[in-house]
Every structure is written in structure tokens, then in C-alpha cells.
Amino acid sequence: MPPLSLLEQSLITGLLTGGLYGLLALGLSLSWGLLRLVNIGHFAIALLGAYLTWYCGTVLGIAPWWAGLMIIAAFFVYGIGLHWLFMRFRVTEMASMLITFALAIIIESIIQSIWTADFRRYETPWGAQSWVIGALYLPKLSLIAFGVAIALAAATWAWLRYTYVGRALRACAEDAPIATAFGINHRGLSFLLSGLCAAYAGVAGVFIALVATLAPSEIWAWVGVVFAVVIIGKLGNPLGALAGGIFIGVCEAMTMAVVNPSWAPLVSFSVLIAFLLFRPRWI
């Protein structure tokens, strides 16, 4: 049996990794669940955000929080533009997956042509710092990312549940023509939501830059596990996306701690298959 401290430390690792999964899953889940658009380009945008954060920090000397604000604003506009294209060409759910897949490849190529395929690392004074509680270490940046993921997921959930705009968005997702008949501006709201999803990718990108080493191909490293998180957490459910991320993150970390690390990737997909087979009410 592994020592208790190892299990506790792995649990923390899993929670924090799960927070990042949740942060990445948030925009994807909303886009898929409420706009019926499967945006694989979300991962590419997140990584582009990470590269921009790194570039601003290491080349232009702009602090990550200022860079983050600029990136989030720019990505919001990008999200609106992308959605305008989708609406203009009446892109369906399946077609959106193919188009955004192509978009992700284009963004990967752009990143590589600008910053080459070599690894990029954003060294900050906080990168190696941790808060210590007894024998346990809580990496500062990962913990902040976790906190931001919780705050964003909770705020988005409350926005969708308690505000007129949020309820209208959910109504549009259920039945857009009927919602429109009730006077809801479906088109305008969908632009807002698309911009928001892209902005969430920007937030995830800032934290990816701060906690991970960057390479253009990293776009694809997240796709499988985050898709599993989105499905497990229920499409369009911000708290579900976070909970799914944490669940998968903890499962992976405990597998690494107790069995062999090479088994960890099996976990997310085994869990996904189990969820799909037994179909809990929320899926």
C-alpha cells in the first residue's frame, strides 16, 4: 500500500490538474451544449492564448495578468467573428466539428511558423513556488488556476440559471424557433455566448502558459481527455464540466500513484465508456 502522504499529494495533483481540464472544458461544453457547435478549434485557441501570454511576458515584458486581459478581449471578438461565419454559412453540428478541426490545424501551423516547433517555457518567479501544509505541497500557480476555474464555472452557472440572458440562452438551446417566437434575440445571444467561450479559452491559455511547457503539437494532447470531461459533465453545464474535470484528474492521478503511470490515459476513456453504458440521468 502506498504511503498516505503519497496518496494525499497525488489527490492534490489530481484536483489541480482536474481544475485545468475543467477550465478548458468550460468553453467547449457551453459551445456544444448551447450553440450546438462542436468547436475543436477551442484547444488551438487556448494554446494560441498560451503562446501570446508567453510572448508578451518574455519578449514584450508584459505581465501575464495584463496580457491575459488583452487576450481575453481579443478572443471574445474572435469568438463573435467565428460565430458570424458559422451563421453566415449555416454550419451544422457535424460540419462545425470538421471545420474547427481544420481551423485547429491552421492555427497550429501559424503558431509553428511564428514561434517554431521548439519548446517554449514561460519562467516566472512563481512557477516553482508552493504553499506548504504539513507534508503537502500546493503549487501556487496551479492552485490559482483551480480557483479561477471554480469561480468561472460557478459564475457561469449562476448567470445561466438566474439571469434573463442565461435563461434565454438555455431556452434557445432547447428550441430556438419557439424561444424566438417568445421574443428572444437568439442571434444576438449566440454571438455573446460564442465570444464568451473563446474568452474562456483565453483564460485557460494564460494558465497553460504559466504551468506548462509549450509546443505547437500540445493542442492535440488535451483533445481526448477534455472531450471525455465535457461528456461526463453534461453538455452546456459549467459546473458539470468542472466536476468532470476534477473527477478525471483525480482518477488519473490516483492511478499513477497506486498502479503504473502508463495506465492513466486508460482511465479517462474507461470512465467515459462506463458513464455512457450506465447513462446517469445527467448525460
Binding site: 503519497l6 495533483t13 516547433a117 521548439d118 503539437s217 494532447a221 492521478a253 500513484a257
Partner: protein, 409 residues
């Protein structure tokens, strides 16, 4: 009308001497300086320019382009210019296979050089075998799989690196008088890294070193937090990591976050970037070439180092210096060019026959192909260590960077 002769500033004797000197200079000038002419010789290669191995592929690309550029500036090959045909295999062996088919049958290249990485090399080797092309590779981590008779390894790792490399690392630490008593082995499931890590496990057991952990992770693993926690819990005297690229950095970052510094640590195929990461101080790895002495005392290496640095800096690479990856690619070119020059031929059979019976001086050492699977007769690799943010050579002692000592607490 009379004309007044204007006295010349040149005397006839001076002119004759000057012309004579020019003739002597032209004759003595290396063939290298003569401009190549005629139909270009096409040499084709596919490299991982995108995908997970693109970082290393980029190093190989820089080297190949540098080499071809230099070759053309110094007379080309057989007096003809060399055209380098480079394709992107996307880090995928199946794509590599298709691209080598294309290079040979559609692009009609005269010669080929192998791609980067064991899996892609194996895929491309099948194509080379089918078309009877000489196949010089420089990154095959599992030599015993290279059974094609016209395959030649530019590596100087010998036929059994899974035995000789672990021996080298343990011998190196044994030289300190206090060899490790416990070890933790962490490895990617990539063929060559897992192969060597298992060799390390076998040797450690044979030498009575307790193996506290043998942890495998999938290629592309992102989260090293739990692996770091397991290493900290095991607290080995020696941590051996069969890593590729940036994985070494990722594990060290995770270890740093839980306030653990490995006592002695080795990384099999790390990115050059590892050296720039402060917690990597005293990290070890293998090498065949670095941007330090004693390598730089070879003028060709010094020139290569300068040229590579310039290209890498222009691309803003974080570690713009030559290393064993760069050296191995360069050596592959040197071997191919040496065979062509010696035989004055582009016929694959003639080139293969020549290499079978000769050796070539390369930047990574004298390459003979007398070892099994056309590897070197022995493992001639050195061990390097991160000291003050740079890789320096520490083992064998006779080949260490002057003034540098192994740091092993």
C-alpha cells in the same frame, strides 16, 4: 606627333609575379571553392517538422540545410550541386513510409537519408529495402531492429546501447567512490527509451542496486505530479529517466513544486532546453557532441557550431547550440558524402559496398560499421552534465571538457 609614355605604377615584373601568384592560388585552391555545375544531385529526407517530435525534427532540419549549403559552397558533390528535398512526416511512421515512396518514385531523388526517430526509421527502412536504396540513419535507438543489409548507423552507440549505456552511467558514478545503492527508473513507453530503461533495470539488479520504482508513462503524458510524488516517497540515490524531449523538464518542474531535488539524475534523450532550467543543475545525459571543448578543437566542429548557432538564434530557439542530435545528423551527411566522393558514384550498391569495408571520420568520431547491424564496433558515447546552465562533458574522464569535474553529491 610624339606621345609621352606615362609611367605605369605596375612594373612588368610585378604583373608577371601577380599573375603567377594568381595561377598558383587557383591551382592550390581547394576543389571546394569551385562552383558546382550540371544537373543537381537530389538527396531526399523526411523529418518530423510537425507533431510531437517537431522540436527535434527542427534541429535535424537546421543541420541538413546547413550541411547542404556548405557542401554547395565548397564545390558540391562530384562537381554537381546538391538539391535537398525535405518533406514533413508529421512525426508519424505511416506518413514517413508514404513520403519515402514519394521521394524515390515520384521526386526521383538520387539518394535518401533516414528520418528522425526509431519508429519512423523502421517505417522508412522497409521502403528503402524494397527499392534497394542505401539507408543511413542517425537516431535508431534499438539497433537490433535495423536488419536491412544496406542500412548504416551514424550513431556511435554500438550494437547494444541498452547494456553499454547503463554500464557507463553506473561506472561513472562508481568512480566517485560512493556508487548509488538505490535507483528509481521512470520511462516513456516510446520504443528506444523503454528498451534502454529495461536495460538499466536489469543491470541495476545485477549490480545489487535496489530498484525502488520502475514507472512507465505514455508518450504525450502531461501530468508528472503523481510520478514526482512517487519519486519523492522512494527517495532514490539515483533517478534514471528514459525521456524524450521536454518530459525531463516536466518531471523536474513537478519535483520542484513538491520541494524535491533528485540526488543524482539522468535523462536519456532530453531537449537541449533542459540545461537552461535551474533545477536541472547536475543532471546527466549521453552525448556525442556539444558546443564545448574538447569537441571545438576540431575546426570543422567549431565552424559547424558557429553556423548552427547563427541559424538557431535566427529562429529564436531557446537552446541555440549544437548537441548530439545535431551531431548525429551531421555525421549521417558526412557518411553519405564520403561514400559518394570515394566511389565517385551515386549507385547505392557501390556506396554500400564501400561503407561495408571502410570507415569515415565524422564530427561524432571515427565511424566504422563493423558492429552488428552496421553499428559502431563499440559504444563511443560520452556522458554530459548540466553545469552552470550549459552541457559539459564529464565521462569518460579522458574525453571530459578540460577543467570540468563530475558533480555527484
Amino acid at each position: 606627333m610624339t606621345t609621352k609614355r606615362i609611367p605605369s605604377i605596375w612594373s612588368r615584373r610585378q604583373v608577371v609575379a601577380g599573375l603567377g601568384g594568381l595561377a598558383v592560388y587557383a591551382a592550390a585552391r581547394p576543389a571546394a571553392a569551385q562552383a558546382p555545375a550540371g544537373k543537381p544531385i537530389k538527396i531526399g529526407q523526411a523529418l518530423a517538422l510537425t507533431g510531437p517530435f517537431a522540436q527535434t525534427g527542427l534541429v535535424h532540419k537546421i543541420v541538413s540545410e546547413y550541411y547542404v549549403d556548405r557542401l554547395n559552397k565548397t564545390g558540391g558533390l562530384l562537381g554537381r550541386p546538391v538539391e535537398y528535398v525535405l518533406l514533413d512526416d508529421q512525426s508519424k511512421p505511416d506518413v514517413s513510409r508514404t513520403l519515402y515512396e514519394r521521394l524515390i518514385t515520384s521526386d526521383n531523388v538520387d539518394l535518401i537519408l533516414a528520418p528522425y526517430g526509431t519508429a519512423s526509421i523502421l517505417a522508412a527502412m522497409g521502403v528503402a529495402q524494397r527499392y534497394h536504396k542505401i539507408f543511413i540513419q542517425n537516431t535508431m535507438g534499438v539497433p537490433s531492429l535495423a536488419t536491412y543489409e544496406w542500412q548504416f548507423a551514424a550513431l556511435v552507440a554500438g550494437a547494444s546501447p541498452e547494456k553499454t549505456l547503463p554500464e557507463k552511467t553506473l561506472d561513472c558514478y562508481a568512480s566517485t567512490g560512493h556508487p548509488p545503492k538505490t535507483i528509481a527508473i521512470i520511462t516513456s513507453k516510446f520504443p528506444s527509451t523503454e528498451f534502454t530503461a529495461k536495460g538499466m533495470q536489469t543491470l541495476a539488479k545485477a549490480r545489487g542496486i535496489e530498484v525502488l520504482a520502475f514507472l512507465e508513462y505514455d508518450v504525450g503524458n502531461r501530468d508528472f505530479g503523481s510520478i514526482a510524488a512517487r519519486i519523492k516517497a522512494a527517495d532514490p540515490d539515483y533517478m534514471f529517466m528514459g525521456c524524450l524531449g521536454v518530459e525531463g523538464n516536466q518531471l523536474l518542474e513537478a519535483l520542484t513544486q513538491i520541494n524535491y531535488t533528485p540526488k543524482r539524475h539522468f535523462y536519456l534523450f532530453p531537449s537541449g532546453l533542459l540545461a537552461t532550467y535551474p533545477p536541472a543543475e547536475r543532471a546527466m545525459s549521453l552525448t556525442t557532441l556539444e558546443d564545448v571543448e574538447p569537441y571545438l578543437s576540431n575546426p570543422e566542429i567549431a565552424e559547424f557550431a558557429k553556423g548552427f548557432d547563427a541559424k538557431a538564434k535566427a529562429l529564436n530557439l531557446p537552446y541555440p547550440h549544437i548537441d548530439s542530435q545535431a551531431g548525429n545528423e551531421y555525421a549521417g551527411w558526412q557518411i553519405l558524402v564520403a561514400a559518394v566522393k570515394a566511389t565517385k558514384s551515386l549507385e547505392d550498391k557501390k556506396l554500400a559496398d564501400w561503407l561495408e569495408h571502410n570507415s569515415v571520420d565524422t564530427v561524432v568520431g571515427k565511424r566504422d560499421f563493423t558492429g552488428k547491424f552496421h553499428t559502431s564496433s563499440s559504444d563511443m558515447q560520452q556522458l554530459r552534465q548540466v553545469q552552470n546552465g550549459r552541457w559539459v562533458t564529464v565521462w569518460p574522464k579522458a574525453e571530459a571538457t578540460p577543467g570540468v569535474k563530475l558533480l555527484a553529491p
